[in-house]
């Protein structure tokens, strides 16, 4: 048990460092601007309509407080942390007076659902096929799959999503290309609504998978082709252990550890991809919310989403790290 505790304390410390550095970056970015963010925000927020001078003055005051521009720098810094820790980012400016936290909570399930489904599917399929491709090197189908994913891999999420949109929105319109569910969906019909949600998620999930699967596939394939030359695999082969068993318990089992670590390291990048994909397909998650918040000049919402993203991703990474010892008994060495 003791090695696990050591491991646990290390991971928790790293988690604290990530959150600390991440939130500080957000702080430095928001406080290092050469322009006055209050005036900037007011002019952006009031650009498309007439707002009464009193309302603007009120806005100016609440904004100054919101930006943490009141008091000494040290007080500003502390109050920034306070807001982060309590999760209170004030009211949204674009959807006044709805609190930012409520908007985020509304969008969060969509993003989490999309991320969870697409990431697990991508990781699982990519590793499975990659492992098979590494073990059965002569298989034509797997080889062809390797070429296709290698071609897709370097293309960024946005381009993949955009091409998907073109293909299924204009060339062959069989799937809904926008939104998380139909506008007119009857939410009391649970089965029908669930089906509607699933159908709407197909394109975003597919494009996330298309952009992400190549990395796992190629990573796993090269891992496996290294592992098959390891002595313990050769030895099992010499002992006449069945191939299926070797593949599962000797090859894949040893390759999965690095790939789990890889998942933890890639999570930030996957999250970036999800944000962009959501925007392309108008999916009502965190990503779309963030981008519309930027367009609407909603400072509190942008800051709220940024900090929540940092917290969320690092928490997920921590969870993966904590599960890792289940996969590798040699955790002490980690």
């Amino acid at each position: 048990m003791k090695p696990y505790l050591t491991y646990l304390s290390k991971r928790l410390l790293q988690f604290a460092v990530v959150v600390f550095v991440g939130i500080n970056i957000a702080y430095v970015v928001t406080h290092s601007t050469p322009i006055n963010p209050v005036e900037q925000t007011i002019s952006a927020a009031t650009a498309y309509g007439s707002t009464s001078p009193e309302a603007i003055e009120m806005m100016r005051r609440s904004l100054s407080e919101l930006y943490g521009l009141e008091g000494s720098p040290w007080q500003q810094y502390l109050s920034f942390w306070q807001r982060v820790l309590v999760g209170d980012f004030g009211p949204s400016l674009s959807a006044f007076p709805t609190p930012v936290s409520e908007l985020i909570l509304r969008a969060l399930p969509w993003t989490v659902g999309l991320l969870l489904v697409s990431t697990l599917l991508t990781w699982f399929l990519g590793n499975l096929l990659g492992g098979l491709a590494g073990y059965y090197r002569e298989n034509r189908v797997l080889r062809a799959f390797g070429v296709v994913t290698a071609g897709l891999h370097p293309v960024p999420y946005y381009v993949v999503a955009f091409v998907m949109l073109l293909a299924f929105g204009y060339l062959w319109p069989i799937l809904p290309i926008s939104g998380g569910a139909s506008m007119a969906a009857d939410r009391t019909d649970v089965v029908g609504f669930a089906l509607d949600v699933v159908i709407h998620s197909i394109l975003p999930v597919l494009s996330l998978m298309a952009a992400g699967i190549g990395g796992w596939f190629m990573g796993m394939r090269s891992l496996v082709s290294n592992i098959v030359t390891e002595d313990y695999v050769t030895y099992a082969e010499l002992a006449g252990v069945r191939r299926g068993k070797i593949l599962r318990h000797y090859v894949m089992r040893n390759a999965i550890g690095p790939q789990v670590t890889g998942l933890a390291l890639q999570l930030g990048a996957i999250f970036n991809g999800a944000i962009i994909t959501e925007q392309v397909f108008g999916y009502p998650g965190i990503g779309s919310l963030l981008i519309s918040a930027v367009h609407a000049g909603d400072y509190s919402l942008v800051l709220g989403i940024t900090t929540i993203s940092i917290l969320g991703v690092s928490t997920m990474v921590l969870l993966i790290d904590l599960l890792y010892p289940l996969i590798d008994p040699r955790v002490e060495a980690a």
Partner: protein, 357 residues
């Protein structure tokens, strides 16, 4: 099945005893490499013939790049490109029939593995799956090859471990939780649990400390005597050969150069290379000056003509540069590949006096 007359049956059994368990005949195994358009051929095993009888430990000695590792890979039927067998055969005469290891289907090969032919590899840390408990390794390796299942199988493993003075609790350990010597014992237990007729052991004690090495060797010897298996034992360490093996083959640059009973070979080495290996071995209590051999082993990608030892050989004569010497039986159970020795065995005798003061 034919019913045999008792006399005929015993004659067959005698016959059986005469047929060696393993016969390697004129085996050539080369590495063929192609890289950036350059073809290279490395003749790692070049025309090797020998046989191993029942219930004996046959030692194979040689330096790096002598081809001994390739030879045992070939005998174990573990050939992967770029290694390929050019010609020759490897025949096992197991109790249930004779098999040429290169004529078997993968299925048939899988059936004899571990049950009849098992393998102990160098580096016990890397031969055991790091993320699998020892118990599961035993199940993977042995369960398909023994009649016992379930509790009886567990009992068989437990008894086998006890026989080797290992505690049953090692079964629940992961490889990294055991010491180096312990892991090597477990590896030997794993290789012998099915009671194989033939065991290939590739430098199983090279990475171990001296004290542990002796224990592991004794254990290997004990289990071999108990099972009556044959062992092909490979190491570069002549002291290990001297203490463990019954017969010994010396390899140099892809060829077998001398073979005989270990005792005879140490008492009276014939081939100049063997003679050097034995005489240069430092010993506690032996104060004679020892010499190294000039030059270095030939490049197997560009083999020499004639005897491959001739550039380093103190006895080399003209014919050695032109013709490769064949392996010739100079006495019962004694073969040597050297023009000088086979021409006049007497010339060698005086040199023997130098070996032991």
């Amino acid at each position: 099945m034919t019913l045999l007359h008792p006399a005929a049956a015993s004659a067959a059994a005698e016959d059986d005893a005469a047929i060696p368990l393993l016969s390697v005949d004129r085996l050539k195994a080369y590495y063929r490499l192609k890289l950036f358009g350059i073809d290279r051929e490395v003749r790692a095993v070049d025309d090797v013939t020998f046989a191993i009888g029942r219930n004996e430990i046959y030692g194979l000695a040689g330096e790096s790049s002598s081809g001994k590792s390739t030879l045992i890979k070939t005998i174990a039927g573990a050939i992967r490109p770029p290694l390929a067998v050019e010609t020759g055969s490897v025949c096992f005469n197991f109790s249930d029939g004779t098999r040429d290891i290169y004529r078997l289907t993968p299925r048939e090969l899988g059936e004899i593995r571990w049950k009849r032919l098992s393998y102990i590899m160098q580096g016990s840390m890397s031969v055991l799956n790091p993320v699998r408990r020892i118990r599961h390794s035993f199940t993977d390796f042995a369960l398909p090859h023994v009649p016992e299942k379930g509790a009886a199988f567990a009992e068989r493993i437990g008894r086998h471990l006890e026989r080797l003075h290992l505690e049953r609790s090692v079964l629940d350990a992961y490889p990294h939780e055991l010491s180096g010597g312990m892991r090597q014992r477990v590896a030997i237990a794993l290789a012998t649990v099915c009671g194989p007729e033939f065991i290939i052991a590739d430098e199983p004690t090279t990475a171990l400390d001296v004290i542990v090495q002796k224990g592991v060797l004794a254990m290997l010897r004990g289990i071999q005597r108990e099972l009556g298996s044959s062992v092909l034992f490979v190491t570069h360490d002549m002291a290990v050969h001297a203490n463990l093996t019954d017969r010994l083959g010396i390899m140099y640059a892809g060829r077998l150069v001398e073979e005989g009973r270990t005792r005879d070979l140490f008492r009276q080495p014939l081939h100049p290379y063997t003679r050097h290996l034995i005489s240069s071995l430092p010993q506690i209590g032996d104060d004679t000056p020892k010499k190294g051999l000039e030059g270095s082993p030939p490049n197997l990608a560009a083999p020499l003509s004639g005897c491959r030892f001739h550039p380093r050989c103190p006895l080399a004569i003209d014919i050695c540069r032109r013709e490769a010497p064949p392996m010739v039986a100079v006495a019962p159970g004694r073969r040597v590949a050297c023009h000088v020795v086979t021409a006049s065995p007497d010339a060698v005798a005086p040199a023997m006096e130098e070996v032991r003061p």
